[in-house]
């Protein structure tokens, strides 16, 4: 177990280094001079020069890179161009609500398990049809359709905006209902499909047959014997679900005007706020890598076969 964790940790460090290098290099892709792009059309030569000095763009690549790393080591990702404060602060203030995440897990898992238990019946077919439609719709378009139906036509839910949890928990939930659902539908579909196929596989195993043969009630077999194994599989794709959620929140938060990490990134990109883009890329990718590390270690702990491969 110890050796496995050490090996896994080493790989993680290599990947994190590459991730940070890619995040940093994004700015090198900008054709021409990033300082000119950042300064905008109306900038004078003087202003451009100031930006160049402020962000160290006049230094060679390796000096910029070392400076960036030195900053990260002490938790400083540089200054945001447009927000006038540090990138770390701007990102930390806006970690998005996790309502969509919970929705995905509960509904996606539930639907997948139900489909597997009622395999090849109309329930299964209905759920799987909805799941494939769910993964085929652009989430931001679905959000717009929800606004038309629930906010404009039925006048039931707000069309956008965000109420902080501390201010009013009920309004907070109401304001997040539509965005969370449009964001979660894609992941729900994916999760339901994967859960179903895993569950179908597990239900065919010998130990399930044994459990049934010794006369255990169906729900005990499903909930105790089968579900545990499904959960282990779900744990391995948590990282991917999380990553998809962040992707989707960029557009969804723009549609519903929610001040989250996604909208912050979207506006950073529109205003060419490169330090903020670099920081956001690094932060989200690092979260993904670390979640996967945690999942792998947990997985090895739960399933001894993994440790000795």
């Amino acid at each position: 177990m110890g050796a496995y964790i050490v090996r896994r940790l080493l790989v993680t460090i290599v990947v994190l280094l590459l991730v940070s290098l890619i995040s940093f290099s994004i700015m090198q892709l900008v054709p021409g001079d990033p300082a000119v792009v950042m300064a905008g059309l109306a900038a004078t030569a003087d202003q451009i020069q100031r930006i160049r000095e402020q962000f160290g763009l006049d230094q060679p690549f390796h000096v910029q890179l070392i400076r960036w790393y030195a900053g990260i080591a002490v938790g400083d990702m540089g200054q945001s161009m447009t927000l006038g404060r540090s990138v770390g602060k701007a990102l930390a203030e806006r970690l998005p609500a996790l309502v969509a995440f919970v929705m995905t897990l509960v509904i996606g898992l539930g639907a997948g398990i139900l489909a597997a238990i009622r395999q090849n019946t109309w329930v299964d077919q209905l759920i799987m049809t909805l799941a494939v439609i769910g993964v085929s719709m652009p989430s931001f378009w679905l959000g717009l359709i929800f606004i038309i139906v629930f906010a404009v036509m039925l006048d039931l839910l707000p069309a956008g905006g965000y109420v902080p949890f501390a201010q009013n928990p009920k309004d907070w939930l109401v304001s997040l209902l539509l965005p969370a659902f449009s964001l979660a539908l894609l992941q729900m579909g994916l999760l339901a499909r994967i859960t179903r196929s895993t569950m179908v596989e597990i239900l065919r195993q010998d130990f399930i047959r044994t459990a049934r043969a010794k006369g255990l009630p169906a729900w005990v077999v499903i909930c105790k014997h089968a579900l545990m194994n499904v959960m282990v599989m779900v744990a391995t794709i948590i990282g991917i679900v999380f990553s998809l959620m962040l992707s989707g929140s960029i557009v969804i938060e723009t549609v519903f005007s929610i001040p989250g990490l996604g909208r912050l990134m979207a506006s950073a990109i529109l205003t060419r706020d490169y330090p903020l883009i670099q920081g956001g890329l690094l932060l989200t990718a690092a979260m993904f890598v670390l979640i996967n590390l945690a999942v792998d270690v947990l997985y090895a702990y739960l399933d001894p076969r993994i440790r000795y491969d």
Partner: protein
């Protein structure tokens, strides 16, 4: 034996393969939906005679009717024409992404799978690229390169090539150990020949399935990028552009957003069904398990 006698079983095999594909419900449904989108793109000029870019001040915000099948937008442009012509941009971007991500991913996957020494560095790099939230990386790349159709393709391909590489590598790792590869080596085949003539054809099944899904993701990603203002620049319509334009008029004219979104959903649904169908058909193991 005559030629005809030799050909007959082969012909029958081919015919039964056709039948297998045509009667597979997922595959058939997916193929039909995809053909609709492709035909729309090819015959956009014939099907939608009005120019997608011409504005008419006298006919703004017309609801769907006999004259304007899908209504008109805030500038009086015909939404049906914009959806029909937009299919060209969306589908061409999808195709170009599939080619670029397919070629890059296949090369990386083959090399990583075949040469043990390249495996670690190449795949760790792919892991790093896959660590970024897909859309965020695509948006970041287009933001740096500037919004244009070509840059959108490059950005989406960078995001999906690693996922393709991983699948090709997995197949290559298994194939590398097979006897026919050793046979080819013994017969004096060069590495390049082994890679391209012996390994690649055997990876094609999973690769084609993966590329079908890459196509679907590319159509969705193009729409999202356009929506964020990072897509191919106006006035040329793409599905994402049209939705983005209609966003400010949700109350007065919901049809502007509705129809291009439906077009995206139908196309992506078709591609997903096609991919699912192909996976069933190309992987006999799955078939046995299902029945």
């Amino acid at each position: 034996m005559t030629d005809a006698a030799v050909q007959a079983p082969a012909l029958m095999r081919r015919r039964s393969a056709w039948r297998r594909y045509a009667t597979h419900r997922l595959f058939a449904a997916g193929a039909i939906l995809c053909s609709i989108a492709v035909l729309l793109a090819i015959f956009a000029d014939v099907l939608a005679v009005r120019s997608p870019e011409r504005t008419r001040i006298s006919a703004t915000f017309q609801p769907p009717s006999d004259t304007y099948l899908m209504g008109t937008d805030n500038l009086g442009r015909d939404v049906w024409s914009r959806v029909a012509h937009g299919s060209r941009v969306s589908i061409l971007i999808g195709l170009a992404t599939v080619m670029l991500a397919g070629i890059a991913g296949t090369l990386v996957g083959l090399f990583a799978g075949y040469y043990r020494r390249l495996d670690e560095p190449l795949m760790r790099l792919m892991d790093a690229l896959m660590s970024f939230p897909a859309l965020l990386l695509a948006v970041g790349i287009t933001a740096a390169l500037g919004p244009s159709a070509t840059n959108v393709v490059i950005a989406i391909a960078v995001v999906y090539a690693p996922r393709t590489a991983r699948i090709v590598r997995a197949s290559t790792l298994v194939l590398r150990e097979m006897d026919f590869v050793m046979g080819a080596k013994a017969a004096g085949a060069t590495d390049l020949r082994i890679l391209l003539r012996h390994l690649l054809p055997n990876c094609l099944g999973p690769l084609v399935v993966q590329l079908t899904f890459v196509f679907a993701y590319a159509v969705l990603a193009e729409a999202a990028l356009s929506f964020l203002g990072m897509g191919p620049p106006p006035p040329a319509p793409s599905w994402g552009n049209v939705i983005s334009d209609g966003r400010d008029y949700l109350r007065e004219a919901p049809w502007i957003c509705l129809f291009p979104g439906l077009a995206i959903s139908i196309t992506v649904l078709g591609l997903n069904l096609l991919g699912d169908g192909l996976r069933d058909l190309l992987d006999p193991r799955m078939k046995i398990q299902e029945s």
